[in-house]
Symmetry: C2
Subunit: 659 residues, 2 copies
């Protein structure tokens, strides 16, 4: 092991293992997770060369191979608990995706939740045994966010008891679904239902797209891969054009809405029933933000401990770059963010499961709050993690730009989360709608509960001159900082609500007023989410009993909160929560916290407990043997298969002879 990184571990002030157990939810969970991870890591069937050395077709091929093996192995091992399956898959996938992703996350769950008993009997055995391999085709070439305007039609023909599915325009071609291009032989297609001459809006239909025997596209079906993307090379995101495809009436998912044989339409009892999956996936994405960022921090902090460069003091050896304050200032706030998001992810997962229980008992009361929280936190965490991954990459200097660091792979895979499952700005505006509504209810005297209850409190922010305002924040006290974030959020929600009001007074319509207040609305949501994150991080500390771990987490939480104050100092000054002299103290305190974290930085990323096989990064290796591995990796580059590249004979030599 590299002596620098060994020394870092020896000097840590806390026991890494204890922190890992906290992150896993208990020592037994850590043990079992590692056991499952080892099943993949020690399995020769899953070993292959770096995917970055392959063409896209080869990468897709490798992904299908691994997914097929995974299905058989999980059955052999008898692993069926969803969390354990997730542990297993996470290692198989590495920094990429699996070929049957949407079959698991969308096709099967939709069948489970929206089939009638008869449909269950027909489709589940086919889907569970992969005779029907499926995807979920919603987004169209011209329609993403606003699904009500999807153009695909499903017209009921009572004479044959069939639906006729059609893509009437280029912009109506289904576009983007994962696994659609090459893998799936079925798709759940979202289409505008027409029956007896009337449109009844979007419904879901099971559409066979490829022959189950030959895998050839069926007549009338144009299906293919949408071409290379930023990432997701291993996934065949696809297009699907349907020309008067006929499917039997029974292929409409009819658990809730129905079309009877005579064409009569029966509408569903509630429109909240389809909320669930969406909220679940957004909650999961919060956890994925934490994982992508914690992986990136692991790589960049370990590398910064072994990388020596420049000089702090003339004549002395080059210091570890982790000793530079500028480097600490880049990486440690992100490390704190990774911990914050991990705890927020745990909270969202717990909240989701609790509320799902309520919903199953008919209690929908907490759903709007969960919905608003999932939307905003999905946007807040993915945006922050997205930027953070790139900061980590660039903090590794040139080598971060090499695919051997895996940081480019982590980025291109992760960045899609800012757009899919609800575009982030749209998400922020959804949360803002809930906040403004809550604010108005509070102003009207209604008592709010849950996380927005702070909007009940009369605003302490007074129209005093800034200097004479009472100082609210004790910058050394986490609970005081939580309070300050709360008041900032309250202030910004109020400002957004007042902007709306002002626009309405200028005789704008509700819709124009909303559009003309977007800047304030997004800021309000952002401040609200920031408050929630700081609050949940602080709350987590009370659960930690180990003194040394508590101390280091407390330092991280303070750094997270103060760094956010520094970045948004205008808000805090404007709201009178901070005064100008305190701003200087915030910088000083941040520096002191960086210095406190420095000796524990490597141990803090070790606690995330990513095996080298999961990081797949020469810079992030546990043993710190970076340069040797990088050289070995480079030698395997496909361009090195021959000493002299063909292009020499084709172009260089002829050029030289001509000049």
């Amino acid at each position: 092991m590299n002596p620098d990184i060994r020394r870092e571990r020896e000097n840590a002030s806390f026991n890494t293992q204890i922190l890992t157990n906290i992150l896993d939810g208990g020592a037994e969970k850590t043990r079992r997770r590692r056991e499952i991870e080892a099943l993949v890591i020690n399995d020769p069937d899953f070993q292959h060369d770096d995917l970055n050395f392959m063409s896209r077709s080869e990468r897709y091929d490798a992904a299908v191979k691994k997914s097929a093996q995974m299905i058989l192995k999980l059955r052999d091992y008898g692993i069926s608990d969803p969390e354990e399956i997730y542990f297993y898959k996470r290692v198989v996938r590495g920094n990429f995706h699996e070929a049957f992703g949407l079959h698991y996350t969308m096709f099967l769950p939709t069948l489970y939740s929206q089939c009638t008993p008869e449909q269950h009997k027909k489709w589940l055995p086919l889907a569970e045994n992969f005779q029907a391999i499926g995807t979920y085709a919603q987004t169209e070439l011209g329609h993403g966010t606003h699904i009500r305007r999807l153009e695909t039609t499903a017209t009921f023909d009572p004479s044959t008891q069939e639906f006729v599915i059609n893509s009437p325009t280029v912009s109506s071609i289904k576009w983007w679904p994962g696994g659609l291009g090459k893998t799936s032989n079925h798709a759940i297609v979202l289409a505008q239902l027409y029956t007896l001459g009337k449109c009844h809006g979007l419904h879901a239909f099971i559409v066979p797209i490829r022959c189950m025997k030959t895998h050839q596209p069926l007549p009338g079906v144009t299906v293919g891969d949408i071409g290379p993307k930023f990432g997701f090379d291993e996934v065949d995101n696809g297009y699907l054009k349907l020309d008067n495809i006929r499917i039997p009436r029974e292929n409409m998912l009819m658990k809730y809405a129905k079309v009877e044989p005579d064409g009569t339409y029966l509408k569903p009892p509630s429109d909240k029933l389809t909320y669930g999956t969406m909220v679940f996936i957004r909650s999961m994405i919060v956890g994925e933000s934490a994982k992508a960022l914690s992986k990136s921090c692991t790589i960049s902090i370990r590398y910064s401990a072994v990388r020596h460069q420049s000089e702090l003091r003339p004549g002395e050896p080059e210091p570890q770059i982790l000793d530079y304050q500028a480097q600490q200032y880049k990486l440690f706030p992100l490390l704190a963010t990774a911990y914050a998001f991990t705890f927020v992810g745990q909270y969202m997962s717990n909240m989701y499961h609790r509320i799902t229980g309520d919903i199953n008992q008919g209690d929908f009361s907490e759903l709007p709050e969960l919905h608003a929280l999932a939307a905003g936190l999905k946007a807040f965490t993915t945006w922050n993690a997205n930027t953070g991954i790139e900061v980590c990459r660039m903090a590794c200097g040139g080598h971060g730009y090499s695919r051997s660091s895996s940081l480019p792979d982590i980025y291109v895979t992760f960045t899609a989360t800012c757009t899919y499952e609800g575009e982030n700005t749209v998400m922020m505006l959804q949360t803002a709608r809930y906040l403004v509504k809550s604010y108005r209810q509070a102003r009207e005297g209604q008592q709010l509960s849950g996380i927005v209850s702070y909007l009940n409190e009369p605003q302490r922010v007074q129209p005093h001159p800034v200097s004479s305002r009472p100082t609210v924040v004790n910058i050394n006290d986490l609970s005081s900082l939580v309070e300050a974030y709360k008041l900032r959020a309250a202030k910004l929600v109020e400002m957004a609500a007042k902007s709306l009001q002002g626009e309405l007074q200028h005789r704008k319509s509700q819709e124009d007023a909303w559009n003309n207040s977007s800047i304030e609305l997004v800021r309000a949501s952002d401040a609200h989410c920031h408050y929630v994150v700081v609050k949940l991080f602080a709350a987590k500390l009370s659960e930690v009993s180990d003194t040394a771990v508590h101390s280091v987490l407390n330092t991280l939480a303070l750094l997270y909160a103060l760094h956010g104050v520094a970045l948004n100092s205008g808000d805090f000054l404007q709201a009178g929560l901070l005064n100008v002299p305190q701003l200087g103290q915030v910088t000083q305190r941040i520096k002191a916290l960086l210095a406190e974290i420095r000796p524990n930085a490597v141990a803090l990323v070790d606690a995330f407990d990513y095996r080298d096989e999961m990081l797949n990064s020469v810079l992030g290796r546990y043993d710190g043997n970076v340069y040797e591995s990088m050289f070995e990796w480079a030698k395997r580059s496909p361009l090195n298969r021959t000493e002299v590249h063909d292009s020499y004979y084709k172009y260089l030599k002829p050029l030289q002879s001509k000049l």
Copy 2:
């Protein structure tokens, strides 16, 4: 043409052509640039399928082919003016790089500037006719920023009149030089010169690495490609390990420093002589920032004009997404930034040429300022453009993630500029060193000149409570905003200097004080650069005589300045340059400016005058026919070469039969 985008052009308030001429530096320049661009666009030899459909080896092959053709064609056309060559190459390259990049930008210029007359006679004909294809090998696996610690050695052996070049360790392997892996047969190698038992620091040596007849690596040379990267797929960035390679004494570049036959070392007359190339390249990068960002704005704004989504008013057709304030707030400040950086790039290029003239006449007086400005602005513009490209990409929704948008290509190609030719944080700290030095000189009564002369002025910022301070800014007046940016910079330079002083008073060494003030130092540089950009944008306006163009550029400049105030409101409040009520007015003013820019947005990106062939983006097409092109592009995806992918027969069918 798409009717939406046609309407946008019809409604613009100014003549696009006039603005294009301003950007080009005159109507004749525009004409000639277009003429040269057409030479490439109409040349069937340069037409090929999308590089994103190719493997890396194929892309490298295509790049070598194009570079070889380009050399012959430029000679045929008789194009030899550097600017005209640049116009030509820019179209050939598109969003990528050329195979002989370093031969042109480093190998040839180093030979020109550092060869003796005898060396010129030998090497220039070889290099100009591509018999010697060269690169510049400085960076090593373990050494980037701090070149004084490079490990490669060149030891003079008087007995044979040779230098022995050696890579003593893994970390000393040359790493990253473009064209080193496969293309070059020579490298200028930076190595520690040893003669008569003494080390004389870094010097440059011409080292043959491949046989000029067979292109095979020479004995003792280990050379290859460093493997796939985030971008630069078409470039063979390489590694080079030298095991006791002997080169004749005459292969040391001896225009300045010399080693005589008996081993006597003669040192160079000045160490400023090698500054030039570095400063030139950094100045050029400022212009590249403008280009990458203006391309990205062109794509995202055109697409936002043809993309319809969601609803502003119930029942009405989906609006253009450019009508959403949230979308305008993402894109228009970036559009303003692209214009700002374009003008800063022009300024840097002019300043470089002016000062180079002075230097050639022995006047080095302005070099330190140019050096500091180039470093800081390189960092400032690349960081901002880098973030901006990604905002543009994500503002295109899911389709921005497709390689067909070209936004991923623009990003991965551009982002490397944040690291190469001086890592950005290191650059910011270099500028800070100049600022602090200037600040101290001013405090000592010295009269500063040039761009830092504002540090002479006594700080108007008083330790008054914020509310009672005189308001400095008139937020509707550009020159008042320039003044505010200046005072903010002055304040932050002062704070950085005081932080240093404070650390020194705590008995820290100079070096530790510097390190412990990094946060303030980087902020000071950032504020200084921000001031320079706002100032130069404002200055450019005075050169514009066309009223309509002046008006729209003035709107952009105000938006650029006010958006920066809003993002850094804490600084302006802290320095008493703005008061709290004004902050609300800033937001209102920004909204008004967004609305003013809205009808001119498409015309403003049209004025950048990128031909479709240069953007290579289905979303950024001039005619706005986005969806049809996207479908056509996708059909050509390599995964669509067969209807059924091989992996079906290999894994899916067998899996289905087992379950």
